[in-house]
Amino acid sequence: MTTVAEQPDAGPTGGTVDGPVLEVEHLTKHFPIRTGLLQRTVGHVRAVDDVSFHIDRGETLALVGESGCGKTTTGRVVLRLIDPTSGTVRFDGQDLAEVDADELRGLRQRMQIIFQDPYSSLDPRMSTADIVGEGLAIHGMASGQAQLDRVTDLLEKVGLSARDLRKFPHQFSGGQRQRIGVARALATNPELIICDEAVSALDVSVQAQVLNLLKDLQTELGISYLFITHDLNVVRYIADRVAVMYLGQIVELAETEQLFTDPRHPYTRSLLSSVPIIDPELARATVRTPLEGDVPSPSSPPSGCRFHNRCPQAVERCRHYAPVLVDLNDGRQARECPEYRPEPFGLTAQSYRESELLNQGTEAGE
């Protein structure tokens, strides 16, 4: 019987130690659209279209965007749960396209995923002990009593206890289930965890618990996260850097604070200004450039700049000119929009002062 090595002081097993844990280059995934009796391919859904990014050790990269922009597909392709159409994914310096099925299964011990839906992601016929212990069993990391002890440790880490071992998923609440999912992902001591909308299905208080848990684990174990979400408040709380996706492409990638205070792409700005603000006075003082309509179909993206049909600043030539992703001086990347004017948005000092004056005016008038 083997016991599990304690993670905190155990370095990453093999590979280079200093390089980024994950490098994604020109990743593309096209899903063929087939119709008719002969299943002829009539087109492609370009779910992910030339996406590149990297994640350093112990870093959290958030991938944000609207529904259907390819965030989830990116996560699945990175883990090779779906095969990419083209592009490379390097995990710890190792090209995932070059490893065979057995080696890939071995690598899965080191990269994990937490799913969005805490209901469908746990096997209803398995007890908590089996669910959390599955990774240990698969990789032969522990069995019998050692496995059960490790599972108990993990459950305690996520705020559950030994008495939950023999319960089945339906006996837990959504938040508890999500924490079981976190425990399962942690079981094999992974270096990278992809959190696919990991907290979206939870209510706000539980969200905070899980987020804090993930943050603590990162500090403790040095895990890297690819945090896929559409919730910008979550992003601001947890992410070191943020990549904004639109129609399968990254439109902007920057450090979190930079992105939130000084977005360089009209889409990022619109996205940021769509965050609801609870305080009515602040809300009134906020300059908004809201997004209208839905994301266009990724099977026939708009010509030129993909955002032009929804962009508040679009002009005629945006139909033809497709901005490219360029490196900006401070380590960030953005699709350089020639029409972009850094107009004030969100809650600026000026707009806040104006609303203050406005309020004083109305109070004086009474």
Partner: protein, 337 residues
């Protein structure tokens, strides 16, 4: 929604360990967390694998109790099935006469009496004893058929559904081909090709029933394959065999169990039909179907020669069907409620 057990029921009530049955929570999948921490015995720091297994057994016992109270009819027919099994096993003890013995002088077509409970047939053989031994033939054929077709059909379907691609294509076209031939004609063909024996009847019926199981198993496996817990297992590095056996089979077993219990009844009828047509059990084996077939000429003069084997056949089929229905409702309450 029927949630018979609320958290307050968890207080000690003196009627044994009162753990809320998993079936109760199954019935309310949306709000499924009616279970409180208090229901779990003890809060020891560590548990052994044996304790975890114990929890699983308790779950089964609870599920059984639930079945008994919710589906009394099905439960009673379950007992009938057990009695039939008992009769089949204990046939030499229960039978009053040798089922094949022709007494001298033969009392041909004697009506029911204290000596011959169900009367005698056209050769003077005791019908009661023949019906008792007939249960053996029927249940052996049905049991063997169901076991073979359940295991092979489920395996084929699960593999076919999970792997997809050309494996799926080949398996499913064969399944389609078998399903497209009328059951009895196919059985007649196989049985007459192989000759009349119990083994051949089992073989013929298994070939007929395997596709049904594989169909159901494949459909369920397709559903399971797209579930996130399978993606999660793949992300953990599970091999296809592990996914099929650890995640696939346990999740598709409920409809398979139901189909198996319904197939039991059908197999009994099919065996009787084959015997009736003369290609089933060999002439030396007492079989309900063959009894019906030979006594139909004497139906007008000796009603008992038809009624008793017929009643035995009906009872067996009815019991398996009603038990199967109840089992289906029990295992998948969403289907009916």
């Amino acid at each position: 929604m029927n949630t018979p057990t609320t958290p307050t029921d968890d207080l000690p009530s003196g009627s044994g360990p009162d753990r809320p049955p998993d079936t109760a929570a199954d019935r309310s999948p949306a709000g499924g967390s009616t279970i409180t921490e208090a229901t779990e015995p003890g809060d020891g720091e560590r548990q052994t694998p044996e304790q975890v297994a114990l929890g699983r057994r308790q779950r089964f016992a609870e599920s059984f109790r639930q079945f008994r109270s919710d589906h009394l009819m099905g439960f009673l027919f379950g007992i009938v099935i057990l009695l039939l099994l008992l009769v089949a096993i204990a046939a030499p003890i229960i039978a009053t006469h040798d089922p094949s013995a022709i007494p001298r002088p033969p009392q041909k077509l004697a009506p029911p009496s204290t000596d011959h409970f169900f009367g005698t047939d056209q050769l003077g053989r005791d019908i009661f004893s023949r019906v008792v031994y007939g249960a053996r033939t029927s249940l052996i054929v049905a049991t063997a058929t169901v076991i073979i077709s359940t295991i092979l059909g489920t395996l084929l379907g699960a593999v076919s559904g999970y792997l997809g691609g050309w494996v799926d294509l080949v398996i499913q076209r064969i399944v389609d081909a078998v399903l497209s031939i009328p059951v009895l004609i196919l059985a007649l063909f196989i049985a007459s090709l192989l000759g009349a024996s119990i083994t051949n009847v089992v073989l013929a019926l298994s070939i007929i029933y395997i596709p049904r199981f594989s169909r159901i198993a494949r459909g369920e496996m397709l559903r399971i394959r797209s579930a996130e817990y399978v993606t999660a297992a793949e992300a953990l590095g599970a091999k296809p065999s592990r996914i099929i056996f650890k995640h696939g089979v346990p999740n598709l077993v409920a409809p398979i169990i139901v189909l198996a219990s319904l197939t039991f009844g059908q197999a009994i009828v099919a065996e009787a039909a084959l015997s009736f047509l003369g290609v089933g059990a060999p002439i030396t084996e007492p079989s309900w179907g063959r009894m019906l077939s030979t006594s139909r000429e004497f139906m007008t003069v000796a009603w008992w020669s038809v009624v008793f084997p017929g009643a035995a056949l009906s009872l067996g089929v009815l019991a398996f069907n009603l038990f199967g229905d109840a089992l289906r409702d029990h295992l998948d309450p969403k289907l009916v409620r």
